[in-house]
């Protein structure tokens, strides 16, 4: 291995960062607040992939990187690594979660009903050019009567009751001590096949684009399943901690979380046939990623999945910081290794055989 020393680089590096700042504008508290307030889905995506719920810091990361998502996620992960883990919260429970959107594409009548919530799913996808000509377009005022319930029964509970879903659920984890004992990919890298807890954690922090790509390849026909969305939820969840002095369980505040389930028949190969369920959840509201992730959850569990839907392939290649980091490392000087490639090409051009040259170095 050979290394390259760069001379005169310090000033150039400082100026390159300066130019970056000049072209992207000043970093101001006002801009950061505006990103946090007006781009919550972007902030959610950075927090979800950064695996750290901190809206203010995610907005700062976006402002500081000019909106470069991979750089923003890296900044948030880097900040996270400077902070000690002080607590294990209790598992998010449906009783203390405020649901604002809950839909099913599988059943039209579900216990508790369907709530569209905040979404543009059913809106015209046209640019509102008039916003460029006026000071602002105000959000509408909604006519309201009754309040919706805060929480809803799980659709899967009903499906289990009527015999559509089989299989025992794992015992519930109830204390922070039990939570601390869960598999954690930030402490131990997964060994495949990964424990389900590690699979779901990896999907929660996975790259949205990567998950969508692999999920879409499954949807287009490279997978063996055709699932239906069982339930999608967007909610605010209380972060419940145990008071270290009295043991009382209290809320440290609310975070935005989302989850998706997909359901598919006949994939289990069991007789009589039963429904298979895929699941994914993440910090922040990110439905598209979760639907694709839940489909991959089913696909990864099949006996002989497409190579692109194998667990190791999916989880390794959708880790955003590792993938983007490996990609951008190619921008760093590779003069010595490439020079050796060139030597072989030149030798081959001078009358040798390129195949023999490559064979000699084991390529």
């Amino acid at each position: 291995m050979a290394y390259v020393a760069a001379r005169g680089g310090e000033e150039a590096i400082q100026n390159s960062e300066g130019l970056y700042r000049i072209l992207n504008g000043d970093l101001t508290r006002q801009n950061i607040r505006a990103i946090e307030r007006h781009m919550p889905y972007l902030v959610d995506r950075v927090m979800g992939e950064g695996s750290l719920y901190a809206p203010e810091l995610a907005a700062l990361a976006l402002a500081q990187t000019g909106g470069d998502l991979y750089e923003a996620v890296l900044l948030l992960r880097a900040y996270r690594s400077t902070q000690p883990r002080l607590f294990y919260a209790l598992p998010i429970s449906s009783e203390t979660t405020m649901v604002v959107r809950r839909i099913s594409a599988a059943f039209k009548d579900i216990p508790g009903g369907q709530i569209l919530g905040p979404t543009l799913d059913y809106s015209h996808r046209v640019l509102r050019l008039e916003a460029l000509e006026t000071d602002s377009i105000q959000a509408p005022k909604l006519e309201t009567k009754n309040a919706a319930p805060s929480s809803y029964p799980k659709l899967t509970d009903w499906q289990r009751e009527v015999g559509l879903l089989a299989g025992e659920l794992e015992p519930a984890v109830q204390t922070s001590r039990e939570v601390a004992a869960l598999p954690d990919i930030t402490r131990e890298p997964p060994i495949y096949p990964a424990p389900r807890a590690q699979r779901l954690q990896a999907l929660a922090r996975a790259d949205t684009g990567g998950i969508l790509t692999l999920g879409y390849s499954n949807m287009r026909g490279y997978g063996g399943i055709h699932p239906t969305v069982n339930e999608v939820r967007l909610a605010y969840a209380e972060v419940q901690l145990e008071h270290p002095i009295t043991g009382a369980v209290f809320s440290a505040g609310r975070v935005r979380v989302s989850s998706a389930e997909v359901v598919t028949p006949f994939s289990s190969g069991k007789t009589p046939p039963e429904l298979s369920l895929g699941f994914a959840a993440c910090l922040g509201w990110n439905e598209t990623k979760l639907i694709a992730a839940a489909m991959l959850d089913v696909a990864m569990s099949l006996q002989d999945p497409h190579p692109a839907h194998q667990e190791e392939f999916v989880l390794s290649h959708t880790e955003p910081v590792e993938a983007s980091g490996f990609c951008i490392h190619y921008k760093l000087p590779h003069y010595v290794t490439f020079s050796s490639d060139l030597d072989r090409v030149r030798k081959a051009q001078a009358g040798g055989s390129l195949e023999l040259e490559l064979e000699a170095v084991g390529v």
Partner: protein
């Protein structure tokens, strides 16, 4: 109202209002011996439960501000979302004061006011959510 309810209300309330209120209490003599034992940021791992198989897994971490104080013979504690150390400290002081029995009535009145405001904004949001309820029909 229980300790859990009080902390939960305060941690979901306006931080500036809490800091202003606690500041106003600190002027009284009972808080002279207040000792700050801990005031820092840190993380809490947040788990969720998979509805397919019931697996509990780590969803991601949450940034918290944490404070622990001593007031007389009592300790107070709080952890709240974000990096506002003063917010965590302000609530931890109220937690200690309630345990110590100082300004109890005044603090509970403040917490109640915050709870009314929180309930009101939750009800408004849930009413807006209800307005998006749909009845699906197939043709």
């Amino acid at each position: 109202m229980t300790q859990a309810e009080i902390l939960s209300v305060l941690n979901n309330s306006n931080a500036e209002a809490i800091k202003t209120f606690t500041d106003s209490l600190l002027e009284s003599a009972e808080f002279q011996g207040l000792i700050v034992l801990e005031n820092r940021t840190g993380l809490a791992m947040l788990p969720a439960v998979d509805s397919a198989q019931g697996t509990t897994f780590h969803l991601g971490e949450v940034l918290l501000s944490v404070a622990r104080v001593q007031l007389g013979k009592s300790e107070g504690f709080n952890a709240c979302l974000g990096r506002d150390l003063e917010q965590a400290l302000a609530v931890a002081i109220l937690d200690a004061a309630l345990t110590e029995g100082i300004h109890t009535e005044q603090i509970l009145e403040f917490v109640n006011t915050q709870k009314v405001s929180l309930d009101s904004s939750d009800q408004l949001l849930l009413a807006q959510v209800e307005s998006t309820r749909v009845q699906m029909e197939t043709f």
